[in-house]
């Protein structure tokens, strides 16, 4: 069974934010919520690196581990989803997530948190596939339509890859073989204090 994963190739990412725009538009994500965002390291400095970050659909998801109402579930593809009807908006999953993926729309007065919203790998949620209810709560279900996440499909440089983890890893490996793995790519200089 395929295990779905994202990978953002920091060498190719040009910070165009096409992935962010595509996601926000396709799913009509509420104000104040960014399911996907581009993080730039050393912004403005030559050698800056940009990386597109969203829910990484962890195999051992910390958000699911800490949820007090167990509203998370994982599909057979490894996609981590949750049920907004069970969610109480406590914020624990946000604290637990190393990527800051769970977010909360500020729809009510006094900064009250709404229900948690996050990247669904374009797989919707626990409602009837491609129904209006599912779209309203979770956004478009592209996986049910046999498509891949729109952020990766829209990526202008194919920096962002989304699909079976083995296939994504193969592509990335081929790229590294072709261009060489530069030590700056993963912070070698920081780790070994050569800079």
């Amino acid at each position: 069974m395929a295990r779905m994963k994202f990978l953002c190739d920091a060498e190719r990412c040009i910070e165009c934010n096409a992935c962010v725009t595509a996601c926000k538009n396709e799913h009509e994500v509420p104000w104040g919520v960014n399911r996907r965002r581009v993080v730039v390291l050393d912004d403005g400095v030559p050698g800056e690196k940009a990386i597109s970050v969203a829910c990484m659909h962890c195999t051992d998801a910390p958000c699911a581990a800490v949820c007090p109402v167990d509203c998370f579930y994982t599909t057979s593809d490894g996609i981590v989803l949750h049920d907004k009807d069970l969610c109480i908006g406590c914020g624990y999953c946000f604290y637990a997530c190393p990527f800051g993926a769970p977010q909360y729309p500020q729809e009510e007065a006094f900064n009250a948190r709404g229900k948690m919203d996050k990247c669904t790998f374009c797989a919707g949620g626990p409602k009837e596939d491609s129904s209006d209810d599912e779209f309203a709560m979770y956004g478009r279900n592209r996986i049910a339509e046999e498509k891949l996440p729109l952020c990766a499909e829209m990526c202008s440089t194919k920096a962002l890859l989304a699909g079976d983890g083995d296939m994504v890893a193969d592509i990335y490996r081929q790229r590294i073989l072709k261009r060489g793995g530069r030590p700056q790519t993963w912070g070698w200089e920081t780790a070994y204090k050569t800079a």
């Binding site: 057979s76 049920d83 996986i143 891949l148």
Partner: protein, 68 residues
């Protein structure tokens, strides 16, 4: 006799709404989702039932995400 009948009637009129309110609680649904740690009790996702899309998604991946 007349006085006791009046008192009896008044008691019935006063007691009827109280009884009605009390019985109203019996009509509430007792269907409560009891939380069990580690068990997902939300709605079922129809996406989970579909396992034949791997091939299609693989083809889509090759079509869209591999360098030209």
């Amino acid at each position: 006799m007349r006085k006791s009948e009046t008192v009896h009637r008044r008691a019935l009129l006063a007691g009827a709404p109280v009884v009605a309110l009390g019985l109203g609680g019996c009509l509430e649904s007792a269907d409560v989702t009891v939380h069990e740690p580690g068990k997902y009790k939300g709605s079922a996702d129809p996406l989970l039932d579909e396992s034949s899309r791997d091939e299609v998604l693989e083809k889509r991946f090759q079509l869209v995400q591999v360098d030209r």
